[in-house]
Symmetry: C4
Subunit: 255 residues, 4 copies
């Protein structure tokens, strides 16, 4: 088995933009792409399978089994660029598998006449109330479009790990302009707030309009989880301090 | 060396059902398939070798050496579907090796005219007196047959690791209906009781009849082992609690 | 770069026996094969290179550099079977590399008209004064020859790891009789005593005569090293016991 | 994606010498090659990409993204041998990837008519004021040139890890004379002083002249960092000793 894409249907898209978001830091890219697919009612275009994905299968709601996979959806935009949306269950598990999957996606993009690529992910930071979006790109033209949509150019030296990075790095070889947008996130938990920041930038860049009510609800829910976890963390911290103080006292006392 | 199957003989089978059980959680799948092979006096059909198996050989009873391998046996059923039974020494040791071996098995199944596939394994649970059997499948038709034979449909989200999972996940590409049956097991030790649960479901599904006396004896033996191990565990636990108590007392006393 | 053998010269050998010994448990196989090469003044036949060996080079006595490699030497036996002797710097570092190297050696053996294969290694045991030699084989005929030369048939279940095992396991596919001889060793240090046991069995089996004076000297040297290490170990053990006793006393005292 | 070299331009070089220095011990090889490129204003010749490099991309000063890569620069020497200078972001991450990359570099060298190869790296040693340069080679002729330029022949047994080693080890197969120069370094931090030692040897060997002012500044800077780190280390050591003493006192007191 090689990394392959099984096309579910043939559809004529007009210079579509490919948007990618796989699991990664804070699940930011995956949350954002899945949200767009749902809000736009994007339809299934094809499935990517790879022997570099983890070797287990997942059970669906109907009790049926499927391999881990990547999913391409498409959306025909009545007012602007069509979209191809790529997300999936997992990143590749091997070094060369990461490159193989990125190249397979790019070959598929070329075949579909993709005009440009936007990859999404998380950027580790103690994010505040409205996490910022950091942008890098293959060239200035596409980068400046992101900046016009309120993304910040990335500082140099920042490594971008996995498919979101490799797609942009390898897009040059296929003469495709590509952009990477990273939402600031602490990255410990799935972070819909960082994903929302990406959605806001994407709305401006693509001239589309997404209903953000559902992601607001997810943000509230995740804020509740975070609060509970931080409370637990704080208690543990206090306890550990006490313990350490005990230890220090003991040491002083005895020695 | 590639993953290959060495056919030991040619035999005409009528739409056989392939049943797979490799080492895994509680050794449940392997115990069940080996038991069926022995009870039905199934005969050797072919051997699967792979450079993704661990790189050691085992010494047989006669002092002779052999590579790790998978084994296909067959049984001609006078009253119903013929069976091909697959078990082996080991799972693949690499990510893409797992996919390669599953694909090789499926290609062989196609060549043998296999009509459907049943994979066997363990399902982690603090199993009670009669461990249940959980089922997932490629489609509703084969799943409902398992449910009629008293298996429970799997809850969603449950990952099935290794060959038992991949075979079902990849069977779709070969247009083969496939079913995965998992026996509930704690998974710490080889678990013949969970394997017996699988055998009971399989008997109903396949309309075959297996003498279960020998597996009852194995269950008794393993219950003895488990009791002794639990006794050791309990003593260790008691001792550890005492130690922790000592530590806590000490801390309180000194600080 | 693939695993390849660079032949240094063409030489007509009469149904030679291939003897293999790579680094492994107690370095037993490698010590034995290197000793035979030296004592018989065997000549270089070819070199095996592989991208599955570790990725470093070693510096020779003359300050020149070479890749890690396997080495084939040959010896024309005036009174019996010619020998091909294989040893090397390292085992393969990857799972499938282990299989690839074993297969490459076997293909070379076939090409050289090899009549049978003997692989050498160590067998973990608290060996006594004269470590025994344990034998396993592809078939009874070659095994009985080893037993006549005072090797003991291996108990079943014993795994033989690495090239020494795989060569015997894969020899069947090439219709080559193969034997594995393992010298009992504690395995912590290079163990010339275990290697000597192998040499004694090989002398009888092959009808050759080796001067064992040099290996006796190595055994004396290594016995000295072992004594010093055991003295250090014993002191550390005593100290650790004392410490643990102190800890237990402390716990008892305080709680 | 395979390991490939994208040639940026075609240029006629006269029997050039290839000098390699990738990240490794003390970053010595990479610092030296980057310094030569800068001082000689060497121009870009080609880029090496590989799926065995780590799977992330880096962000450049201009906010643009690129894959990890190796870089070939060239310099036309008006008075002697032309140079090809190879450095890069990373070593290969897999065992066989290391061999694949070394072989790709050698094939490119052959194509460019390279006359000889010099690889650079670090040699672990508690280096003094002026770290020495240790040399190993494919043959005596090129080694003696290095010795004439004040390098010391390497003692035997010394392993040279990674591309610097493999290139010399594999150069023989391409009938290319190759030399490895290693600067003595503690190896904990990037070590421009060890790199300078290499530059001095290279100047003599190649009859070129490099302005060493900038590397002197780097050495001063790194000496400052080292001092601060050693001060921290010393304080930690003192503290740890105190703690251990406290522990020992405690133990003595209680038991």
């Amino acid at each position: 088995m090689k990394t392959t894409i099984k096309e579910e249907l043939k559809v004529a898209l007009e210079s579509p933009i490919l948007i990618e978001g796989l699991p990664g830091l804070g699940m930011v890219g995956r949350i954002a792409v899945k949200y767009i697919i749902k809000q736009l009612n994007a339809e299934m275009l094809g499935l990517l399978y790879s022997p570099h994905f983890p070797y287990y299968v997942v059970v669906n709601k109907k009790g049926s089994v499927r391999l881990l996979r990547g999913e391409f959806h498409y959306w025909k935009n009545p007012k602007g660029s069509d979209l191809i949306l790529f997300t999936g269950d997992s990143q590749a598990q091997t070094v060369d598998g990461q490159y193989e999957i990125a190249e397979t996606i790019l070959d598929f993009a070329k075949k579909q006449g993709v005009a440009s690529i936007i990859t999404l992910g998380g950027y580790r930071k103690e994010a505040g109330e409205s996490p910022k979006v950091v942008a890098t790109a293959t060239d200035d033209e596409i980068l400046s479009k992101a900046v016009e949509a309120d993304a910040l150019p990335s500082p140099p030296g920042n490594p971008i790990v996995g498919t979101a990075g490799l797609l942009v790095g390898m897009a040059k070889f296929k003469k495709l302009p590509a952009l990477c947008l990273l939402g600031e996130t602490r990255g410990y938990l799935p972070d819909p707030k960082a994903a929302k920041s990406l959605l806001i930038v994407l709305q401006k860049m693509l001239g589309i309009s997404l209903n953000l009510d559902d992601i607001e609800k997810e943000i509230e829910k995740s804020a509740g989880i975070l609060e509970r976890m931080q409370a637990i963390e704080a208690r543990r911290e206090t306890y550990a301090k006490k313990m350490r103080k005990g230890e220090e006292d003991k040491t002083t006392y005895i020695s």
